[in-house]
Amino acid sequence: MATTEQGTSEGTDVTRRDFLYVASGAFAAVGAAAAAWPLIDQMNPSADVLALSSIEVDLSAIDVGQSVTVLWRGKPVFVRHRTPKEIEEARAVDLASLPDPQADEDRVQKPEWLIMVGVCTHLGCVPIGERGDYDGWFCPCHGSHYDTSGRIRKGPAPKNLEVPEYVFLNDTTVKIG
């Protein structure tokens, strides 16, 4: 019968109509995704947030053994003028014993200036200076201990304190970011 034949051909063969369905469906899906993207991407940092990305710090006022905290991208940055003893402590460590092995030499450009983001790599608290078991930093939130190179030594944090990008513009000025 004519109807049966028609039914069979619709069921098995790919028709022009099937192609139109799939093509228009795919087109609509791409369109919906494109329309959704602005709604999602608006959550990412805006232009003004991105623009505030670098600061300059005057180092002449920081004595040996002193440390200042500056605000960069909404986060504290520790700038520490390390003592020879602290430098020596940081360099005497056996790298194999570290949870996140990194040589002190790779964390500083000038040994006496340790510059790093003061945000605990566990869950983002600000560690307290000259505390903890390794004379470095101690995070009060969940008990992570950092050494005089800002490397994680004990506690739940998985990584060393992050070293931001910086350049020494001259002997007494550093630009972070």
């Binding site: 959550m43 990412n44 940092p45 805006s46 947030v49 905290t69 605000l71 991208r73 909404g74 986060k75 504290p76 945000v119 566990h122 869950l123 983002g124 608290c125 600000v126 560690p127 307290i128 995070c139 009060p140 939130c141 969940h142 008990g143 739940p156 944090a157 998985p158």
Partner: protein, 423 residues
């Protein structure tokens, strides 16, 4: 819901109801049209109480927004403005802040009721899943609401919780930047949290409507956990349970009012009356009390990603309850061994909350022994998961329940005869 035979007496209302049968819907879901088992005890009050709490939060929240400013520079001061200058602002804010705690107390008891009487078992799995989703939404809403006053705990709580997502492999940091809208918790974060904190309660309201709908298909479970066999096992919801719920509401309001009027800051943290400062972390970051057990689980695991996974798993595992429990009886009333483990689970959850409120480096002095909170947290975390993954599946299948009563009606009459011996 069964087809309604409800007919309003008033001619106009009848005509209106024919065109939009909303009066039938109310009659059949909250009025005499909904028939509930006649043996429901006071544990069954907490569902309607939770609904009440949601309405209180939405109403007080909407009026608080008329005075609050969602901006990092102004939020803290606007909350103080509410407390000092706005007429009854102190009352509205204290009701809203304590109302969140009340909502969680009620919901925790409601969840426990479900666990104890097997309300998650077939044919009520969908009902249970909707409940767990509501609970998850409540946690998200409560967290974002706590950020809005922009105090120290708001700021650092937000920092710690959003940083949980940095544990995600590969894209963790990008996710966190995306959530913050910057490189730290700051004004963009506050504004999006405000937007979502306003939205989510209405999502919860929608889920609550689905939850009630899903309840009314199989009907309420009951303390015996056996099925309703006929009308002799039931009473109409109105006036019986509306009256019982109203009485419970009265008691609950007294409890609520004691906090609002006498201890309004008891459940909060004093550090949140210090304005947010990104340069100084408070000595102890403590989340709101209702998150403490999960916070303890997070800290019990020595691995960052593992801790985060365990914390989320602790909540999501509730979804598996209908399959984990294989007992022939729903109600724990007939399962003495299982019941013991369940009460232990409750005690353990409270212990986890206590551990979560303390620093893992501190010690608990028990008699002459010192136990670190870290050790205690690890033991309690182990029992938490042991309960779901081993105790529930094994004990429920192995323990032979006590003989179940033949019907709800028979049991109710037996109890009544015992209470009032032959005159």
């Amino acid at each position: 819901m069964a087809t309604s035979n409800y007919q309003p007496k008033n001619r106009f209302l009848r005509a209106f109801n024919e065109q939009l049968p909303i009066l039938s819907l109310i009659h059949d879901s909250l009025g005499p049209g909904y028939r509930a088992p006649k043996n429901l005890n006071y544990w069954w009050n907490f569902g309607s109480l939770a609904g009440f709490c949601l309405i209180v939060q939405i109403v007080t929240g909407i009026v608080l927004v008329m005075h609050y400013t969602p901006h990092a520079d102004l939020a803290f001061d606007s909350v103080e403005h509410i407390m000092r200058d706005v007429n009854y602002g102190w009352l509205l804010r204290y009701i809203h802040a304590n109302g969140a705690s009340m909502f969680f107390i009620v919901v925790y008891i409601h969840i426990f009721r479900g666990l104890f009487y097997g309300s998650y078992r077939s044919p009520r799995e969908t009902l249970w899943f909707l409940g767990v989703i509501i609970y998850l939404l409540m946690m998200a809403t409560g967290f974002m609401g706590y950020v809005l006053p922009w105090g120290q705990m708001s700021f650092w709580g937000a920092t710690v919780i959003t940083n949980l997502f940095s544990a995600v492999p590969l894209v963790g940091d990008e996710i966190v930047t995306f959530l913050w809208g910057g490189y730290s918790v700051d004004n963009p974060t506050l504004q999006r949290f405000f937007s979502l904190h306003y939205l989510l309660p209405f999502v919860i309201l929608g889920m609550v409507i689905l939850h009630i709908w899903a309840l009314h298909i199989p009907g309420s479970n009951n303390p015996l956990g056996i099925d309703v066999q006929g009308p002799q096992d039931q009473v109409p919801f109105h006036p019986y349970y509306t009256a019982k719920d109203a009485f419970g509401l009265g008691l609950f309001l007294i409890f609520f009012a004691v906090f609002v009027f006498y201890f309004p800051n008891f459940l909060g943290h004093p550090d949140n009356y210090i304005e947010a400062n990104p340069m100084v972390t408070p000595a102890h970051i403590v989340p709101e009390w209702y998150y403490l057990p999960f916070y303890a689980i997070l800290r019990a695991i020595p691995d960052k990603l593992g801790g985060v996974v365990a914390m989320f798993a602790a909540i999501l595992i509730l979804f598996a309850m209908p399959w984990l429990d294989g007992s022939k009886a729903r109600s724990s009333r007939f399962r003495p061994i299982y019941r013991t483990f369940l009460w232990l689970f409750v005690a353990n959850a409270i212990l986890l909350g206590y551990v979560g409120a303390n620093s893992p480096d501190d010690f608990l002095h028990l008699g002459g022994v010192d136990i670190s909170f870290l050790t205690l947290g690890r033991i309690a975390t182990a029992y938490y998961f042991l309960f779901f993954l081993v105790i529930v599946p094994v004990v429920s299948r192995w323990e032979e329940p006590l003989p179940l009563p033949k019907s709800i009606n028979e049991e109710v009459l037996k109890k009544a005869a015992k209470a009032a011996p032959a005159e």
